[in-house]
C-alpha cells in the first residue's frame, strides 16, 4: 500500500467538511480511501488535541469541525427494531418493532434473526441518512438465562449458550451485512459477562470457577467473535470473581481480544466506569477509574468519567497517551468501517430512503416472524386450531387481550402497525368472511405483586411537632429476601420487597405520636406499607397505600424516595418500641360477573395473560414466577364456567403453570415471548390454523421458584445444598422441559444414523434422521441434538446433556424429510481448570435426537479418543504506541493463542516482522520499530507454529518532526542532537542570543532568550495541527560552590521560606529540623530549602544523618534540583506510610524516593524500601547526577560503594540545587480516607537532619 497524495476535491466537500484545508493542501490520510481503516483512524487520532481526545472518549462524541469530524452518538439500540420513534420532520415513520429476543429464541431458527437484523439495519441506515442517529447498536443480549427471575430475561435468546450463540449469530450477521469492506451497522454483544441479576448489578460479584466461565458464560462471545467476527462487546457493571469486568485486562484483553480474537471496540455499560470507583470501590479516585478502564481495554465510557477525568489521569502519570490513543483508534476504526468518512458512492448502504422505515415489507416481515415464535404447550382433544366456520362466538378475556406489549428496549412503532390480539382476531375473521361474534372483556389485571417498593427512611412526628427520622436500611431484623441497594441512584433503599415482607427497627420512640411518613419509591405497581408495633402481625399504628392504582406516582426504578404521610393511630404506646414496616400487595377484586358471563356464553373462551415491563425489567428482577396480578384467578374462574378455555400467555419467560396446566377445562395453552407489533395478527393466524405453531421453549419451565438456588449463585453445578441449573444440571421435575413445543400435526422420527462411530476431537460428525409428518397439517418441526458423555468421570460432574445442534424444518403433511446436522467435535470440549485449556473426555458421546430435551426419539453413539490437534488460532500484535515521533523506537510484541484457548510460548514461535512502509516505520527481525519519517505504516507480525501461520498487524503514525534543524548561539552553531536540554558552563554576565530553526517547516518555533548568565533560553517547537509541542532549554550556568558547613550558609546560598528557628550549623554540619509542609503538588509551603545556582550539568553529593528514620505519614529530607515549587526533582530519604501495618510491627522502614514535579503534577519515579539496607544510625550518602534532562540518583550506606536508585527525566530552567527537610504532605491516596475505619495517623517526632557536606562538580559545554 502506498501513500497517494490527492488534491483536495469536491467529493470531499460533498461530505460537508469545513474547508479548513486550502485547495493546495494534500488530502489528509484519514480521508484517503487508499489507506486501511486502521491507518486512517490512527492518522485522525494523531491530529487531535488532548481536550478533543477527552471529549471523544464518551458515547456522545463531540464534533471536531477543524478536522471535519461530525458529532456522533455511539449509543443506539436495536434489539428488535431501532429504538426510536417517528420523526415527521425527517420524513420518518416509527421504526418496525419485531418480536423481542425471548420470542425469537423460541423460533429456533437463526435465519429469522438474520432476516430481521438485516431489515433493522436497513431501517437504521435510512434513519442515519437523516443525521438523527448513529449506526452502532448495543444489541444483541447474548447472556444465557441462568435464572428466569432475571429482570432482563425478555431480552435474551434463552437459557442455553449454544442456542443463544446460534440465534445471536444470525442477528450479528444480519446487522453487519455481507459487504466485504463496509459494515451495514455495528452490533455490540452484551453484557460481557455474567450480568444475570439486576438488583445488585452495580455492586455485585458473579463468582464462578473457570469451567462455568468458559463453558457457559463466555461461550456465546467466543462463538460470535471467532465465527462471525463480532466487532464489539459491552463490558458489564458487575465484577466477576471480585474484579469489575470493566477494569479487567484479563477479561477484556486476554480473553476477548487475545484468546477469541476480537477486533473492534469495547464500550462500558452506562456508568460501568463510575461503578469501578463508587460501586465496587475497586479504586479510590475517578482518575484511577479512568485509568483502570482504559488500561483494561474499555474504549468508550457511556457515562462521564472518561470525559471529565482522562486529562487529569494523564497529568497524574497514571494513564498514557498511547492508552488514550488506542481507545480512540478502536472507536474511529469502527466508525470508518461504516463508511462515515468515505464518499457516499463508495458505500453500498447509503441508498435507503426514509420510506424504508416501517415499510409494508418490514411490517409483513414482523408479522411473519411473529407467527413463527408461538409455542403450543397443550392441545387436548384437538381444541386447536379453532374452526371459525363452526364457531358462533368467541370471548377474548384478560388484561392482554386488547394490548400490544412490546417488552424491553422497544422503539415507538406506528400506531397503525400495532395489532392487539383483539384487533388481530377481528381483522382475521372479517378478512376471511367468518361471522363469529367476538366479545372482549379484560376481567383481570397484570399488576405485579412482587418487588413492590423501595424504602429509604421513615419519620415519626410527635404532637409537639418534633420529627425523628430513621434510616430504613438500618433494620434490626427483616424477612427473607430483603436486600439493600441504590441501583443507579445515590440513595440506599430497602429493596426486593415482596408481598408479606417486613423490616423491623428497635428502639423507635412512638410516645405521643401524631404522624408517620415513609420515604419510598414505586418501581412497578407499588404496595401497602403497614406500620406495626411488636411484630409483623402486631398492632397497626399506620397504613400507607403507595400504589399507582391509588394515584401515587413516585419514582420508578431509577428514582429516589418521596415522602408519603399518614396520621398515626394513637394506641397509647409509650417509649421505645420495635416498629415493623410490613409490606403488602394490594388485594385483587374478585373476577367480575361481566367477565364470567362473557366466558360462559361463548363457544370458546380465550384468556390472554402475561407479563409486562412492570413485572420485571432492567434494574428489577422478578421475585416470583407467578403470573402477576390476578391472572391465575382469572384463568381458573373462566375455566370453571367454560370447558373450552384456551390460555394464551405472552411473557418475558418461564411462569409457574402447575395450577392450571392440568385442568381439563383448559385444553389449550399457547405461549410466546413479547411478540412485536404484529402479535395480534400472529396469534389470530395460529389460533385459526392458518399457521401451525412450530416454536419450542428456549428455557426450562420450572414448577416453582422454590426449586431454584439463590439468584446470586452463579454456579451451574450443585452448590451449598442447592440444585444445579438449566437443562445441563437441573435434575428435578419441571413443568415443561427445555426445547418443548407441540404442533397441530405429529412427527415421527426414524432411521437414526451417524456418519462415523469413532471420532477424534478434530473430526466432524453428521447425525441424520428421517422425520415424517403423520398428521393432518403442514408444519414445522425443530429437530434437536443433545450430547451426553456417560463415560466421563462422575467426579467431573459433566452436564447431563448439552444442546449441540438443531434445525427447524418445514414438512408438508404426509411427507418425510431427512434432517442432517453436522456437529463439529471440536465444539464438544470441556474446560480443564488445572491445565487451563480445553479438554475432551474419552469414551462414548451419545447424540440424543429428539423433539425436546426430554422427548428423545432416538440415539446414536460415537466413541471419542485422541486429543485435539493443537493449532495456532489467534495472534495479536502491538508495540505499545500508535503515534510516534521521528527517531522514536518501540518494541513489537505479540501473543499467540492456540485452538484449545491456551497460549503458546512466544519464545518458541517463528516470527516475521514486516512494515508496509519501511520509509516511514522500519522494523528489524527482532521486532524493533523505528520511526523514520512522517506518515503512516502498518506493521505485520506473522507467527508460525507447526507450519501454520497467522498474521496480525497494527497501524502507526509518525508525526511531523519536532526536532531542530539548527541551533545557534550568537550565530555559532551548537550540536544538540535529540536532547531536550543543553547546558553551558560560563562566567556570569550577558547571555548569548539563541536562534533556532525547526527541521519541519510545518512546525512553529518560538525562542525566549535568557536575560543573563545564569539563566535559561527556552525554545518551543509547536505542531500547529495538534498543539503538541517540544521544549528545548538552553541553560547557561556558572560554577557552583561546595560547602562543608563549618559556618552559616552565605552567598551563593539562599533560602526559600527561611525559618531561622528551624536550622543551625553545629559540629560542621547544617542541621535542618523538618518543618511543616512540603512542595508536593498544591501544598507549596515547605520552609528552609537551601539552594544555590546550578544551571549546568553537575554531580552533587551529600552525607546526611537523621535523628530517626523519617516517620509517617510523609517526613522526608535530601537533595533537590529546584526551578520553582511546582517544578523540581527531589531525591529524598522519606517515610513509608502503610496504614495496614500492625502497630506492634515496629516503626516502618524508610524509603528512598526520586520524585519529579512538573507544572504542579508530581510523579514518583523511584520508591525503594531501605528495610535491611539503612544502618540503625540513619546515615546515608546521596548523590544526584544531572546530564541534560536526565537525573540519576545514587545512594550509599558507607560512603564508598554506591548503588543506583533510578533515573528521572525533567526539563528544568534556571536550576538551583540544594538540600531540604520537611514534614511532608499527606499521601494523596490517604487524603480522602482521613480517619476511615478508625485508622489513627501516627504522631511523628520532629526530624533533625544533618548535612555534613555538600559537594558539587559542574560540567557543560563552553
Amino acid at each position: 500500500m502506498h501513500c497517494i497524495r490527492k488534491i483536495f476535491s469536491c467529493s470531499v466537500l460533498a461530505l460537508g467538511i469545513c474547508t479548513v484545508l486550502s485547495a493546495q493542501d494534500p488530502q489528509p490520510i484519514y480521508l484517503n480511501t487508499a489507506y486501511s481503516f486502521e491507518e486512517r483512524a490512527t492518522d485522525l487520532v494523531s491530529r487531535l488535541t488532548l481536550e478533543e481526545k477527552q471529549s471523544l472518549l464518551g458515547n456522545n462524541m463531540a464534533a471536531v469541525p477543524r478536522l471535519g469530524v461530525k458529532n456522533y452518538n455511539i449509543w443506539s439500540e436495536a434489539l428488535h427494531g431501532v429504538l426510536s420513534g417517528a420523526n415527521p420532520a425527517a420524513g420518518l415513520l416509527g421504526p418496525t418493532s419485531f418480536p423481542n429476543s425471548v420470542a425469537l429464541g423460541s423460533t429456533w431458527d437463526p435465519s429469522v434473526t438474520e432476516w430481521m437484523a438485516s431489515a433493522i439495519a436497513e431501517e437504521a441506515r435510512a434513519i442515519f441518512q437523516t443525521g438523527t442517529k448513529g449506526l452502532t447498536f448495543w444489541s444483541p443480549v447474548v447472556e444465557p438465562v441462568r435464572d428466569p427471575r432475571w429482570g432482563r430475561t425478555g431480552e435474551s435468546y434463552g437459557e442455553d449458550p449454544f442456542l443463544a450463540a446460534t440465534m445471536a449469530s444470525g442477528f450479528v450477521r444480519g446487522l453487519m451485512g455481507s459487504d466485504a469492506k463496509y459494515l451495514k451497522a455495528v452490533p455490540t454483544a452484551k453484557h460481557y459477562f455474567a450480568n444475570n441479576s439486576e438488583f445488585d448489578r452495580h455492586v455485585s460479584s458473579s463468582n464462578m470457577d473457570s469451567r462455568d466461565m468458559r463453558e457457559f458464560y463466555l461461550y456465546p462471545y467466543k462463538r460470535l467473535i471467532e465465527d462471525d467476527h463480532l466487532p464489539s462487546i459491552m463490558s458489564s457493571y458487575n465484577a466477576v470473581n471480585h474484579v469489575p469486568t470493566s477494569a479487567s485486562a484479563f477479561y477484556l484483553d486476554t480473553l476477548a481480544r487475545r484468546t477469541y480474537g476480537m477486533k473492534g471496540y469495547v464500550t462500558g455499560d452506562c456508568a460501568a466506569i463510575e461503578d469501578i470507583w463508587n460501586g465496587h470501590y475497586y479504586v479510590e479516585t475517578r482518575e484511577q477509574a479512568t485509568a483502570a478502564g482504559l488500561k483494561a481495554g474499555v474504549d468508550s465510557d457511556c457515562g462521564s468519567i472518561y470525559q471529565r477525568f482522562a486529562i487529569s489521569a494523564y497529568e497524574q502519570g497514571i494513564l498514557s497517551m498511547a492508552e488514550i490513543d488506542r481507545a480512540l483508534i478502536n472507536v474511529f476504526t469502527i466508525r470508518m468501517r461504516t463508511g462515515e468518512f468515505d464518499p457516499e458512492q463508495m458505500v453500498p448502504y447509503t441508498k435507503y430512503e426514509p420510506s424504508r422505515v416501517s415499510s409494508a415489507a418490514n411490517r409483513a416481515l414482523a408479522a411473519e416472524i411473529a407467527s413463527r415464535t408461538l409455542v403450543l404447550l397443550k392441545n387436548e382433544g384437538g381444541i386447536l386450531p379453532l374452526k371459525p366456520g363452526s364457531l358462533g362466538s368467541i370471548a377474548l378475556i384478560g388484561p392482554q387481550a386488547d394490548d400490544v406489549e412490546l417488552g424491553p428496549y422497544s422503539g415507538r412503532p406506528e400506531q397503525s402497525a400495532m395489532i392487539s390480539p383483539n384487533a388481530g382476531i377481528r381483522q382475521y375473521l372479517e378478512k376471511k368472511g367468518y361471522d363469529v361474534d367476538v366479545s372482549l372483556v379484560t376481567g383481570g389485571n397484570i399488576k405485579s405483586k412482587s418487588n413492590l417498593l423501595y424504602v429509604a427512611w421513615f419519620e415519626v412526628e410527635k404532637t409537639d411537632g418534633s420529627v425523628t427520622r430513621y434510616d430504613a436500611t438500618k433494620y434490626t431484623a427483616c424477612a427473607d429476601g430483603i436486600t439493600v441497594g441504590s441501583g443507579m441512584g445515590e440513595e440506599e433503599q430497602v429493596r426486593t420487597i415482596d408481598d408479606g415482607s417486613w423490616t423491623a427497627y428497635d428502639n423507635v420512640d412512638i410516645t405521643n405520636i401524631e404522624n408517620l411518613t415513609v420515604g419510598l419509591n414505586i418501581p412497578t405497581e407499588g404496595g401497602i406499607v403497614e406500620i406495626r408495633v411488636g411484630g409483623p402481625d402486631g398492632n397497626l399504628i399506620g397504613r400507607i397505600e403507595a400504589t399507582r392504582a391509588s394515584g401515587a406516582r413516585v419514582g420508578g426504578v431509577y428514582g429516589a424516595s418521596t415522602p408519603m404521610k399518614t396520621a398515626a393511630l394513637k394506641l397509647g404506646f409509650n417509649g421505645p418500641q420495635t416498629v415493623y414496616l410490613v409490606y403488602k400487595a394490594p388485594q385483587d377484586a374478585p373476577i367480575d360477573e361481566e367477565t364470567l358471563s362473557a366466558a360462559r356464553n361463548a363457544d370458546v373462551a380465550v384468556v390472554f395473560v402475561g407479563t409486562d415491563e412492570n413485572t420485571a425489567t432492567e434494574e428489577a428482577d422478578r421475585l416470583t414466577l407467578l403470573l402477576p396480578g390476578n391472572q391465575l384467578a382469572l384463568i381458573k374462574a373462566v375455566a370453571a364456567v367454560n370447558p373450552r378455555t384456551v390460555v394464551v400467555m405472552q411473557t418475558l419467560g418461564c411462569v409457574e403453570v402447575e395450577e392450571f396446566k392440568h385442568l381439563a377445562q383448559v385444553p389449550g395453552i399457547l405461549w410466546t415471548g413479547y411478540n412485536g407489533q404484529a402479535q395480534g395478527e400472529a396469534i389470530a393466524r395460529v389460533l385459526f390454523g392458518e399457521v401451525n405453531p412450530g416454536g419450542k421453549l428456549n428455557a426450562t419451565w420450572y414448577k416453582s421458584v422454590q426449586d431454584l438456588p439463590a439468584i446470586t449463585d452463579y454456579n451451574l453445578r450443585r452448590s451449598a445444598g442447592a440444585g444445579g441449573r438449566t437443562l445441563w444440571y437441573f435434575n428435578r421435575e419441571v413443568s415443561y422441559p427445555f426445547g418443548y413445543g407441540l404442533s397441530y400435526t405429529d412427527f415421527e422420527y426414524s432411521n437414526f444414523r451417524i456418519s462415523r462411530s469413532t471420532v477424534t476431537p478434530n473430526d466432524k460428525v453428521t447425525v441424520s434422521v428421517d422425520v415424517r409428518n403423520t398428521g393432518d397439517y403442514d408444519g414445522d418441526e425443530v429437530v434437536q441434538i443433545y450430547v451426553a458423555t456417560p463415560d466421563s468421570p462422575a467426579s467431573l460432574e459433566r452436564p447431563a446433556k448439552r444442546l449441540k445442534g438443531f434445525r427447524r424444518v418445514t414438512i408438508p403433511r404426509g411427507q418425510t424429510r431427512t434432517v442432517s446436522i453436522t456437529v463439529d467435535c471440536a465444539d464438544l470440549w470441556f474446560w480443564d481448570m488445572q491445565a487451563d485449556r480445553m479438554t475432551y473426555d474419552p469414551g462414548r458421546y451419545v447424540f440424543e435426537i429428539g423433539s425436546s430435551s426430554q422427548d428423545i426419539r432416538g440415539r446414536v453413539t460415537a466413541v471419542m479418543s485422541g486429543s485435539l490437534e493443537r493449532r495456532l488460532k489467534t495472534v495479536v500484535a502491538d508495540c505499545g504506541v500508535s503515534v510516534m515521533r521521528i527517531g522514536d523506537t518501540a518494541q513489537g510484541r505479540f501473543s499467540a493463542c492456540m485452538n484449545d484457548d491456551s497460549f503458546y510460548d512466544t519464545a518458541r514461535a517463528e516470527v516475521l516482522w514486516t512494515s508496509n512502509n519501511p520509509g516511514v516505520v522500519s522494523v528489524t527481525a527482532d521486532g524493533v520499530l523505528k520511526a523514520v519519517s512522517m506518515g503512516v505504516a502498518t506493521v505485520s507480525c506473522a507467527v508460525t507454529v507447526d507450519g501454520r501461520t497467522v498474521t496480525d498487524c497494527f497501524a502507526l503514525k509518525v508525526m511531523p518532526d519536532l526536532g531542530l534543524a539548527s541551533l545557534k548561539l550568537d550565530g555559532k552553531p551548537v550540536r544538540l542532537g535529540d536532547a531536550s536540554q543543553v547546558s553551558f558552563l560560563r562566567k556570569a554576565g550577558k547571555a548569548p542570543v539563541v536562534e533556532a530553526v525547526a527541521a519541519d517547516p510545518a512546525i512553529d518555533v518560538d525562542v525566549r532568550q535568557a536575560a543573563r548568565i545564569p539563566g535559561t533560553a527556552v525554545v518551543t517547537l509547536s505542531d500547529r495541527e495538534t498543539g503538541d509541542s517540544r521544549v528545548v532549554t538552553v541553560n547557561f550556568g556558572t560554577k557552583s560552590s561546595g560547602d562543608s558547613f563549618q559556618k552559616a550558609p552565605a552567598s551563593p546560598w539562599s533560602w526559600v521560606r527561611e525559618d531561622p528557628s528551624g536550622w543551625k550549623v553545629s559540629d560542621g554540619a547544617l542541621v535542618l529540623t523538618a518543618g511543616k509542609g512540603d512542595i508536593a503538588q498544591a501544598g507549596n509551603d515547605a520552609t528552609n530549602i537551601l539552594l544555590q545556582s546550578a544551571n549546568t550539568d553537575w554531580t552533587v553529593d551529600t552525607r546526611m544523618s537523621c535523628s530517626a528514620a523519617p516517620a509517617a505519614p510523609a517526613q522526608n529530607a535530601g537533595l533537590v534540583a529546584y526551578e520553582s515549587d511546582d517544578n523540581f526533582v527531589k531525591f529524598v530519604y522519606s517515610a513509608t506510610f502503610n496504614f495496614r501495618r500492625q502497630p506492634d510491627a515496629g516503626p516502618a522502614p524508610g524509603q528512598l524516593q526520586l520524585l519529579v514535579e512538573e507544572n504542579g503534577q508530581q510523579k514518583t519515579l523511584v520508591s525503594m524500601s531501605l528495610e535491611g539496607i539503612i544502618r540503625p544510625d540513619n546515615v546515608i550518602w546521596l548523590r544526584l547526577v544531572k546530564q541534560g534532562d536526565i537525573y540519576t540518583a545514587w545512594y550509599s550506606v558507607d560512603g564508598r560503594k554506591y548503588e543506583k536508585a533510578g533515573t528521572a527525566s525533567a526539563v528544568l530552567k534556571d536550576i538551583r540545587v540544594g538540600v531540604m527537610a520537611c514534614e511532608g504532605a499527606m499521601p494523596a491516596m490517604m487524603r480522602g480516607f482521613g480517619g476511615r475505619g478508625g485508622v489513627q495517623l501516627p504522631q511523628s517526632a520532629p526530624l533533625e537532619v544533618s548535612f555534613d557536606e555538600f559537594k558539587i562538580v559542574n560540567s557543560g559545554l563552553r
Binding site: N71, A271, E613
Partner: protein, 266 residues
C-alpha cells in the same frame, strides 16, 4: 400591581415587605448561610425552607446570580452587564463583556465565572473583568444547530450549556474544559417507554452530592442528567415554570412561578 388597592402596598411597606415580594419572580439563587439569597424581580433572603425573611428592590430585574470567592455576581435583564454585588445587594461594579448577544445565565465552578448569551456565545472569566468569548455558533457552524443559549452550569469537572435551536427545540452540550463541546442525550424513560425531552430551558445547576446536572424549564420540568447518559430522569412539578434548582448539601431549593418555592429532597 393590577387589581390591588393602594392601601395594601402601603401596609406591606410598613411591614417591611414590598408588594413585589409577594408577586416577585425569583429566577436564581445562591446558598447564603443556612438559607439562600434569591434574585429576580427583587433580591430576597430565604431560610432553608424557602420562606422569605426580607427583600430589597433592584433597579433592573436580575436573571442570574452566582457566588464566587465571597463575591456575588449577577446578570440583569438587559443582558449587557455582569454586576458585582456586595452581601447586601449593592452594586459594586459593572462589566460589559464584549459579546453580541444578551447574557442569559451565569455559573461558577469555584474558580471561574461562566456565562452564556442568546447569540450562542460562551464566556468565561477569572476576575469578572476580563472575559474570554467562544462563539459556539461560529465554531460549530454546520456541525451543531445554531443556538440561543439560556442556561449554563459548571461543576464536577464539567461544563454544561442549554438552549434552543432555530426551530425552538432544546439542545444541551457538555464540555470538560470549555473549548470542545459534545451534545448531551436527552432521552429518558417514562413508564418503560423511551422519550425525548423538549422544553424551553430556564436554568442549569450542578448537584455535587448526586454528581449530576439538573435542568429546569417550562411545564414544571426538572430534568436530572447524571454522568450516565442512559440515566436521565424527568420529574414534573405542579407549577407553570420552574425557574431554578439550587442545591444545598443533601437538599435543594426549587424556585418556580407564582411564588412556588419548595425543597427538593432528591
Amino acid at each position: 400591581m393590577s387589581g390591588r388597592s393602594l392601601i395594601l402596598p402601603f401596609f406591606l411597606l410598613l411591614a417591611g415587605w414590598t408588594v413585589q415580594a409577594q408577586e416577585a419572580v425569583l429566577r436564581s439563587a445562591v446558598v447564603s448561610g443556612d438559607g439562600y439569597l434569591a434574585a429576580g424581580d427583587c433580591l430576597a433572603w430565604l431560610d432553608e425552607r424557602g420562606v422569605i425573611s426580607r427583600t430589597r428592590t433592584v433597579q433592573v430585574p436580575l436573571v442570574a446570580l452566582v457566588s464566587l470567592g465571597g463575591s456575588l455576581y449577577a446578570a440583569d435583564s438587559s443582558g449587557r452587564d455582569v454586576l458585582q454585588l456586595d452581601a447586601s445587594g449593592d452594586v459594586l461594579s459593572r462589566t460589559a463583556p464584549a459579546v453580541r448577544g444578551r447574557i442569559r445565565s451565569l455559573a461558577t465552578d469555584g474558580r471561574e465565572l461562566f456565562g452564556v448569551t442568546d447569540a450562542g456565545e460562551f464566556i468565561r472569566s477569572r476576575d469578572a473583568r476580563s472575559w474570554q468569548v467562544l462563539d459556539f455558533n461560529a465554531e460549530y457552524a454546520g456541525y451543531y444547530p445554531r443556538m440561543d443559549f439560556r442556561a449554563v452550569a459548571a461543576g464536577g469537572g464539567a461544563l454544561m450549556v442549554a438552549g434552543v435551536d432555530v426551530s425552538g427545540h432544546l439542545a444541551v452540550f457538555t464540555s470538560s474544559r470549555g473549548t470542545v463541546w459534545a451534545e448531551r442525550s436527552l432521552d429518558y424513560r417514562d413508564q418503560g417507554q423511551s422519550r425525548l425531552l423538549d422544553t424551553v430551558p430556564l436554568s442549569l445547576s450542578y448537584d455535587p452530592v448526586q454528581d449530576s446536572f439538573c435542568l429546569t424549564g417550562g411545564g414544571g420540568v426538572l430534568f436530572s442528567m447524571p454522568g450516565c447518559s442512559h440515566c436521565n430522569r424527568l420529574v414534573r412539578y405542579p407549577v407553570d415554570t420552574l425557574y431554578a434548582r439550587i442545591p444545598s448539601g443533601y437538599s435543594a431549593l426549587l424556585l418556580g412561578s407564582g411564588g412556588f418555592r419548595t425543597n427538593d429532597p432528591r
